[in-house]
């Protein structure tokens, strides 16, 4: 018998083990929900699978009385749009500032301490200020995402630029590159895939800020819905919405990963097969 740390099991066993916790959790939940519902048919905390699928079918097919829109899709569209715009603005700004700050020491000297301090401010704390500045329209939500993730992205890209071997900058200069050319031909193309992988990391926070902003002031959006229906303890809406958000987050993350692999194969060379 091998030592425990050396036991790996075959492919089949590993797949079975991977599915196991999900099956156990799902089964346990359904059992609890059914039992609670049997005991008290009006309980709302543990909706059964049927209740949830009914509610979701309604939310995914019937138009809302007030707005005439189908809630699930309207919410999804609103949230994804805010997320997309916010993340796009952040990524663009981060690429530019990360590049310039990582590449030009005299820019980095004043900029790097500033961005370090800014990145320490918890964005949630300035949410009241954001509402004052941007109102309760789309701007405030997008601004929260941008303020929330851009400093992190910039610092990461600046760090990545500094980690690129000094040899590359020297080599480029021996090939005749001026400062601008070093930035756009050596640093920029190598920061781009890093931007994608860092954005994947930051998306978790972006979702957080989006939901936080939607929770406090919004007319639509996935976070809006969750915080609106919480007052009826409508777990039959909240739970599927949380699952739906998780699925969306997963899909976006995988899509970015696959795009990055396809376009920037050289960047992923060192990755383990499991990433």
């Amino acid at each position: 018998m091998k030592r425990l740390i050396n036991l790996r099991g075959g492919r089949g066993l590993r797949i079975a083990l991977a599915l196991l916790p999900f099956i156990v959790l799902a089964t346990a939940y359904i059992a609890i929900a059914n039992q609670k519902t049997e005991f008290n048919p009006n309980q709302r905390l543990f909706p059964t699978a049927e209740q949830m699928s009914q509610t979701m079918t309604r939310m995914a097919t019937q138009a809302d009385m007030r707005s005439g829109e189908i809630a699930l899709w309207a919410d999804t569209r609103a949230s994804l749009q805010r997320l997309g715009i916010g993340v796009a603005i952040s990524a663009t700004a981060a690429l530019i500032f990360g590049l310039v700050s990582g590449g030009i020491p005299l820019f980095r000297a004043p900029f790097s301490p500033l961005i370090t301090v800014v990145s320490l401010i918890p964005p949630m704390a300035i949410l009241p200020i954001l509402f004052i500045v941007f109102g309760t329209g789309e701007m405030a939500k997008i601004a929260l995402i941008v303020i929330g993730i851009t400093p992190f992205l910039i610092r990461d890209l600046q760090g990545e630029a500094l980690r690129l071997p000094e040899e590359q900058r020297i080599k480029a200069q021996t090939l005749g590159a001026n400062s601008w050319q070093v930035l756009i031909r050596v640093l920029l193309p190598q920061l781009t895939p890093r931007l994608i992988s860092t954005t994947r990391l930051a998306l978790g926070s972006a979702w957080l800020f989006l939901i936080a902003a939607e929770a406090i002031a919004a007319q639509s959006g996935l976070g809006y819905r969750i915080f609106l229906v919480r007052r009826y303890l409508s777990m039959d809406v909240i739970l599927p919405y949380v699952a739906w958000i998780t699925l969306l987050a997963f899909i976006i993350d995988r899509a970015l990963y696959l795009i990055s692999r396809k376009w920037f194969g050289w960047y992923h060379v060192d990755e383990q097969a499991s990433a």
């Binding site: 007030r66 406090i216 303890l233």
Partner: protein
């Protein structure tokens, strides 16, 4: 439910509920709880909706709420609820504020920031009704109660419905006007302290202790005790003058006799009927509610709605009990 001896009551910041802040911190509640040999923990919750959620989900045994929210949130969720204290009615403490507008009609087509499906929504409906408009003519933006202030400071936000203390802050902003207020619908927005009926049945002392503490505090307010008022003002994040101004828009029932009288008055049943109808039209009684009368409401004057499903009860006995004790 069986007898217990420790209870939790949630409250949130609103003029009419600040007495609880005083009663809690100055030991009034403890004194009355000790008298009945129980323990009462008052919990402040920063967000109004969350405080009611805590009650509905059973994490606390009682909460401060308006009559409408008591009906549409816990009662509509199947939590049998008893009103033990009718503290005041809003007499200008809830209002519709517009920027650059002379009449309520100007609200047409605007985005309105409010806590959706709350008593603000009710006030908005009553306001729209009064000028022949309806909810379809405006576009609501759900905004947490306290964030309405910040939002209203932004020029793009031009209409809001809220309550005090936020109301007084935003109606003082440049170009802002309070164009409709609860003064115009007196005795319709009632600020209550409600308790889970089952808990109360098993532990009537809870109701007695709460009512006792409440009316002891009310006596200080009636006497205009500056120390008590200052403590309440501070807890509300304002100063004595500011708090006095908010109180002016509140019709406090500092005398238990008056409160008991309103509870037994048939007018209350009428008001609740109106509120139930509005709530039904707004879909607040649940997606499957067949009519405004699904939920039974019992007042000393009678019952409105489904007698087999009574979930909201106005019970003046605790108020009268205090009165008799005096």
């Amino acid at each position: 439910q069986h007898a217990r001896d420790d209870f939790r009551i949630a409250w949130s910041i609103y003029v009419g509920w600040m007495p609880w802040a005083y009663a809690d911190s100055q030991g009034v509640v403890d004194k009355w709880a000790d008298k009945y040999g129980i323990d009462i923990d008052l919990v402040q919750v920063n967000d109004y909706v969350e405080s009611i959620n805590q009650y509905t989900s059973g994490n606390v045994d009682g909460v401060t709420a308006t009559n409408m929210d008591a009906l549409t949130l816990p009662a509509a969720s199947g939590v049998d609820t008893t009103v033990i204290i009718l503290g005041d009615y809003s007499n200008g403490n809830d209002g519709v504020v517009l920027k650059n507008a002379r009449s309520l009609k100007d609200i047409r087509g605007r985005q309105v920031n409010l806590v959706q499906y709350s008593v603000s929504d009710y006030l908005l409906s009553r306001a729209l009704e009064s000028v022949g408009l309806s909810q379809r003519d405006v576009s609501p933006v759900n905004t947490a109660d306290a964030d309405i202030v910040g939002a209203f400071a932004n020029p793009d936000v031009t209409a809001a419905v809220t309550w005090n203390p936020q109301l007084s802050v935003i109606s003082n902003m440049p170009e802002a006007n309070m164009i409709f207020s609860s003064k115009q619908i007196p005795r319709e927005i009632l600020d209550l302290t409600i308790v889970n009926t089952d808990v109360l049945k098993a532990n009537p002392d809870l109701g007695k202790a709460l009512a006792g503490a409440w009316y002891e505090t009310m006596a200080k307010m009636a006497a205009d005790d500056p120390k008590a008022l200052s403590i309440m003002a501070e807890a509300a994040g304002t100063d004595l003058a500011g708090y006095r101004k908010q109180l002016a828009a509140t019709h406090l029932y500092s005398d238990p006799a008056n409160a008991a009288a309103l509870m037994t008055d048939p007018e209350l049943l009428d008001t609740m009927k109106k509120v139930a109808r509005f709530s039904f039209e707004q879909g607040l009684l649940g997606p499957s509610a067949p009519g405004p009368d699904v939920i039974g409401i019992r007042t000393p004057a009678g019952v409105y709605g489904n007698r087999g499903n009574i979930k909201l009860r106005f019970d003046p006995r605790f108020t009268t009990h205090v009165e008799q004790a005096k």
